[in-house]
């Protein structure tokens, strides 16, 4: 995939870098495994060195040197400002409303940014049984804002979820970052395409959406990925394997 002038990035890198750009210095971020983990740690290496990482495993203010593979890696515990029990994490920190930004992923997302991470097909006889809720419902309900990262395709962006695991539809609180662009809920809560990544056309985004996608009047372009962003991300990724 060719983006902007020169830099070659994978779809996951593109999403991760754009998610990282959403973070601000001093924000308290609840980080899960996978792209969110990479995005939050990338942001700390770029524009948000003072971004506070919280892992639902109980690590508050973790400063991992290497990218952790699981949210329970020893590196998180060893570098954290404080460790708390999982009960305390969910009750006092997440439930208490102390998370500025929560990251979520989904196997399905609907026009109101509700998420399915439970099952494809019926619940009783699923075609694909997914991992389930984890911390997502409470992160969606209690974090001040939510970043959803998901590849855009008609199988993922569906009119109706097979199962509602989490509700992330609060206006102004949610941003969905895909491999094609950026979506945010409009005033009625329905997702609207607000930006496309360089080189992506509106039609591609429409085709990759399982409903009639709303497009913002002032549709924007995301900034091309810079060499620095990509280098930092790849170094971070490599660190996980060291």
């Amino acid at each position: 995939m060719s983006v902007g002038e020169a830099v070659e990035v994978t779809p996951e890198e593109l999403m991760t870098i754009n998610a990282a750009r959403e973070l601000r210095d001093g924000q308290v971020c609840l980080v899960g495994v996978g792209p969110p983990n990479a995005a939050a740690n990338l942001a700390r290496r770029l524009q948000a060195p003072g971004c506070v990482l919280v892992y639902e495993s109980g690590a508050i203010g973790a400063q991992p040197v290497r990218l952790p593979l699981s949210i329970g890696d020893d590196d998180l515990a060893a570098t954290a400002l404080e460790l708390v029990s999982v009960v305390e994490m969910f009750n006092l920190w997440i439930g208490g409303g102390r998370i500025d930004v929560g990251f979520l992923g989904a196997a399905q997302i609907d026009p109101h940014a509700n998420l399915n991470t439970t099952a494809i097909g019926s619940y009783e006889q699923p075609k694909v049984r997914l991992p389930g809720a984890g911390g997502a419902p409470e992160i969606a309900a209690c974090a001040k804002s939510v970043i959803v990262i998901a590849r855009q395709s008609p199988r993922v962006f569906v009119e109706k979820l097979d199962f509602v695991t989490s509700l992330a539809h609060r206006e102004g609180h949610t941003v969905v970052i895909t491999d094609l662009g950026v979506l945010r809920p409009g005033s009625d809560g329905e997702l609207e395409l607000v930006a496309l990544h360089p080189g992506v056309e509106v039609e591609q985004a429409r085709e990759a959406t399982g409903w009639d996608l709303r497009v913002a009047d002032d549709l924007e372009r995301t900034e091309p990925v810079t060499q620095r962003e990509l280098d930092e991300l790849r170094e971070l990724r490599a660190s996980a394997r060291r």
Partner: protein, 269 residues
């Protein structure tokens, strides 16, 4: 105490059993012992079933699973869990499905001898209609509706910890998960430990479970592998990745279990 004896004395078919440890300190050796002893019809409780319950489920030990996140963290699916839910192999698996916050509060309520815990969340999700252990309560002061989870009270909870002293006091440190709540919610608790020491010395983030809360302490160094015990081992991330291939296929899984668990004697995988 010998792990074999502790398991055979305290865990019987049909019991509700919790093996806790949130990524860190997962009691794999004890899980393997349950498999070797051929326990059946267990109701297994764990926030993250992880590889340990994938193994118990695949070996037909479980009738029911109470859980909140059934994935292989950072890798993908738990294939034995999926096969049981999707295809009923090796036998049907009843599932009771929470969010992390829900199950954590269910343990906490059990530990506090309360019949339920209160939290935000669940409202508007489909989890509610599929889990009879979730309900709603009205705040008697504000009228606000909140969700309630039924307390979890395992017959037996098993944990793995770094140390015990000669009196049977157990100490763990690092990411502490829900182990304290799971132990205190249970009728009986068993701990496997890396090391028996003369005297426990409190350290940063250490959690002590007094001897009078633990029925049996078993010295099982490496008993958390492929999970880890901070200060003694590191997480075997390669094994977690490799498990994806092993567990994907019924035959290969069964063979691996025969070779690495059934034929062994208290040696973690």
């Amino acid at each position: 105490m010998d792990l074999r004896d502790a398991i055979s004395e305290h865990v019987r078919d049909g019991m509700t059993v919790s093996l806790e440890g949130f990524t860190h300190l997962i009691p794999f050796a004890a899980g393997h012992e349950l498999i070797r002893q051929g326990r059946r019809d267990l109701t297994l409780v764990r926030m993250t079933p992880d590889l340990i319950y994938d193994q118990l489920i695949g070996m037909g030990c479980a009738r029911k699973l109470i859980f909140s996140y059934g994935g292989n963290p950072g890798v993908g699916s738990l294939h034995r869990f999926r096969d049981a839910v999707e295809n009923g192999w090796p036998q049907p698996l009843e599932i009771v499905e929470h969010s992390h916050a829900g199950l954590a509060n269910a343990y906490a309520a059990g530990a506090a001898n309360l019949p339920f815990g209160v939290l935000r969340g669940y409202a508007g999700t489909d989890l509610v209609e599929h889990n009879e252990q979730v309900a709603f309560v009205d705040c008697p002061f504000t009228g606000e509706q909140l969700s309630a989870v039924r307390a979890v009270r395992p017959d037996v909870t098993v944990i793995h910890a770094q140390q015990a002293d000669r009196h049977g006091n157990v100490m763990l440190w690092g990411l502490a998960g829900v182990q304290k709540e799971a132990v205190l919610a249970a009728e009986v608790a068993i701990a496997t430990v890396e090391e028996i020491v003369d005297e426990l010395e409190a350290r940063p983030h250490s959690v002590v479970l007094p001897a009078w809360t633990i029925a049996a302490v078993c010295h099982v160094p490496g008993g958390a592998h492929p999970s880890y015990a901070a200060g003694y081992s590191t997480r075997d991330n390669d094994f977690y990745s490799a498990w994806d291939e092993i567990a994907r296929d019924r035959e290969r899984f069964s063979e691996w279990m025969r070779e690495h668990v059934l034929s062994k004697d208290e040696v973690p995988a």
